[in-house]
């Protein structure tokens, strides 16, 4: 009982001590300009440590979910490999799988910072110029488009997230349907709008929307989301609500896609456009 009393006493003393020290720091913060800057810097360091720790904790507890998703993807890829082997009779070793496929170079990367709660969001990934990332490369996951690389350093790249009002992705309803412009709706985390779909083409709720491949940034046929309600705009085209597959709040691993012929295509466009 006495031990408990002692521990309680020490706890109360410590609490009062912390309270008085915090009060003193607040007073200092308001009375001295140097102290104001010093305490603000200290507070920022504490915030950074706490947020970093919370982020690590969050990623630790989401490992189970990530593992499940990876296992499912692994299973799908294994099934595809088996089917490929059955069709061609060719054995593929990991080293023989090319990183360039269909005119695009693919590179795995980890998202180290993702902003989600602003009007202009961004993503920072752990691959940079030394890894072969170029500006205007696409950032995707198996669930859709994440963004476009805007700036690169040696080891990191800064990408403009799809959740930006000025970001437009060329998208198609179904694999052979009409093509329109897909934009973030600016409101919800997984909401987008597919614009400029001709009114004479019937659109059904729940259809899957894919990348069209008409831009030189993203390859075709990446699933993006499903269609929702359609509204007629200017009496001629549909604006269709899209529910995106990508969960931006739990982004961890992404793929950087780079069109190897992009410069050639652009040069051709520049020469003969107009």
């Amino acid at each position: 009982m006495r031990v408990n009393g002692n521990i309680l006493g020490i706890g109360i003393n410590a609490a009062v001590f912390i309270l008085l020290e915090v009060a003193a720091l607040i007073m200092l913060h308001h009375s001295g300009p140097l102290q104001n800057i010093w305490i603000s810097k200290g507070m920022h360091a504490v915030y950074a440590a706490v947020w970093g720790g919370a982020d690590d904790l969050k990623s630790y507890f989401s490992l189970k979910k990530q593992n499940k998703a990876l296992a499912e993807e692994n299973f799908r890829l294994s099934a595809m490999l088996c089917s490929y082997r059955g069709l061609t009779g060719v054995e593929l070793s990991p080293d023989s799988i090319p990183d360039i496929y269909g005119g695009y170079r693919y590179m795995m990367a980890s998202a180290i910072k993702v902003s989600n709660n602003r009007q202009h969001n961004y993503i920072v990934i752990d691959k940079g110029s030394e890894d072969g990332v170029r500006e205007l490369s696409g950032i995707v996951t198996k669930d859709g488009v994440v963004g476009i690389v805007d700036a690169i350093s040696r080891h990191y790249s800064y990408g403009r997230s799809f959740k930006n009002p000025d970001m437009v992705v060329s998208a198609r309803i179904g694999r052979e349907g009409p093509v329109g412009e897909l934009m973030w709706d600016g409101i919800s985390s997984n909401g987008a709008v597919l614009r400029e779909i001709p009114q004479h083409i019937p659109v059904h709720r729940g259809d899957t929307v894919y990348t069209s491949g008409f831009s030189s940034i993203f390859p075709a046929d990446i699933p993006l989301g499903t269609t929702g309600e359609a509204t007629v705009v200017n009496g001629s085209t549909y604006n269709i609500e899209i529910t995106l597959f990508t969960d931006f709040s739990s982004l961890r691993y992404v793929t950087v896609v780079d069109n190897v012929d992009r410069d050639e295509i652009r040069e051709l466009e520049d020469r003969y456009a107009d």
């Binding site: 001590f17 200092l28 001295g32």
Partner: protein, 161 residues
């Protein structure tokens, strides 16, 4: 007597300038020599009030003395227990230079002064002063503080029954 000493500290801060390397403070020894019957919480509150009074009436930067003095109050009882004996402090017996010995009393004063000065100098410099400057300031202030604290401690504890 304690109030008079706080007033003395305010006067020292206002009218005696001994250079940028020395900071004279008798507040740690005032807190150290408070009766052992005063519980730690009360001691910390007293330290906070005294600190605010000195900050307000003398030094200008409100919160500096509070920040440095409250830790002294927080460690006073454990330090007293360690140096003068736990039974002695739990019984709330008075302590003095004569009764507890010069060495132990000196160590207690030096610990309290060192804690006070370390926090005070760090907060006063606010990260703008080099480490060497802060270190020299703490050391010189510690020596001067110890010298002026000894007679004050003797005076305060000789009153203790």
């Amino acid at each position: 007597m304690y109030i008079l000493l706080v007033v003395a500290q305010i006067l020292v801060c206002n009218f005696i300038n001994v250079g940028q390397y020395v900071m004279l403070s008798i507040l740690p020894v005032i807190i150290l020599c408070m009766p052992l019957t005063v519980p730690t919480i009360a001691l910390m509150l007293i330290a906070a009030v005294v600190g605010i009074a000195v900050d307000w009436l003398a030094e200008g930067i409100v919160g500096l003395n509070v920040l440095a003095l409250v830790p002294v109050a927080f460690i006073r009882n454990p330090v007293a227990g360690l140096l003068f004996g736990k039974d002695h402090t739990e019984r709330g017996e008075g302590f003095s230079l004569k009764k507890n010995g010069f060495t132990r009393f000196s160590v207690a004063i030096l610990i309290c002064q060192a804690v006070f000065l370390a926090v005070y100098v760090a907060a006063d410099g606010a990260g703008t002063r080099p480490f060497l400057f802060c270190f020299i300031r703490v050391m010189l202030s510690l020596v001067c503080g110890y010298v002026i604290s000894l007679p004050i401690a003797n005076m305060l504890t000789s009153e203790t029954k």
